[in-house]
Amino acid sequence: MLVDFELIEKARSGDDGAFSQVVQAYRKRILGTIARLIGRPEDVEDVGQEVFLRLYYSLEQLRTAEVFEPWLYRLTVNAAYDYLRRQKRRQESRMSDLSEQQVMMADAAAGGKQNQEEQRRGKIREQVDALLEKVSEEDRILLTLKEVEGLSLKELEKIYRVNENALKVRLFRARQRVLKAYETPED
């Protein structure tokens, strides 16, 4: 826990100052998780603010301060999931409006502005993005939390509210689908 239970209790009872302190303690970690879940740095803050906005209006429903972190992660997962679904719809309509050449020119222009390190990161991001785009948003989020964020099965159990066996099956299947996508050559 990055803050003590007392502060969460204060925030839960409507203390805006305490809520601000909770946000300040968790925002960096949550923004990092969101960045890796959605893969688009430009939208990370927006999604992060959506998470804390949802937290603000749902905090009074929290049973005890002990379950705060899984609760916050659940809100993060839901906000990322909503974003990815919206993005998918937007991307479909945007891509249909642009010709392939226009898309390539836009990519090249964006690439030219980046320095080498950023390009390397961009490449990895693109590679993982392309891979995760071949699986569902649910698989993408579950695998990112497990493999990239390094959350334990116990932590995932609390976030997803399912038992360990069900979670293992879901993870195994998701991993199999990603492996299959990884082995499949690009179209």
């Binding site: 601000s20 300040q24 923004l31 990092g32 803050e45 603010q49």
Partner: protein, 109 residues
């Protein structure tokens, strides 16, 4: 052989996850993060309040309409009598001959 391929793909994938994790360190929030968040919280609060206000206004309008119906229309409907004659009068009007025959027969004293 296939098993070895699987293992190799698995480890390549694990390495890719790790690279992805390292390529995305936790970003520093911008200076506007907190002000923008509070703006959004306030905007949501105003939006929710205005929804409740509209709902309350609709309830008031519905109550006024119902009161008008009860006060004005119902008494007006009730003022118009449903029956214009008694049951005996209606029977009498429907069978005028019966009464005359009864009188003629002399049974009535």
């Amino acid at each position: 052989m296939e098993r070895m391929d699987d293992d190799s793909t698995n480890s390549k994938l694990d390495a890719l996850w790790l690279e992805y994790r390292n390529a995305f360190p936790d970003p520093e929030p911008s200076a506007n993060f907190m002000p923008n968040l509070w703006q959004k919280i306030e905007a949501r609060r105003v939006e929710t309040t205005s929804v409740f206000r509209r709902l309350a206004q609709a309830c008031v309008m519905a109550t006024v309409a119902a009161t008008l119906i009860i006060v004005v229309l119902i008494p007006r409907i009730q003022r118009e009598p449903v029956y214009t004659a008694t049951y005996v009068d209606i029977l009498d009007a429907a069978h005028p001959m019966d009464a005359a025959q009864l009188l003629d027969s002399g049974d009535v004293q």
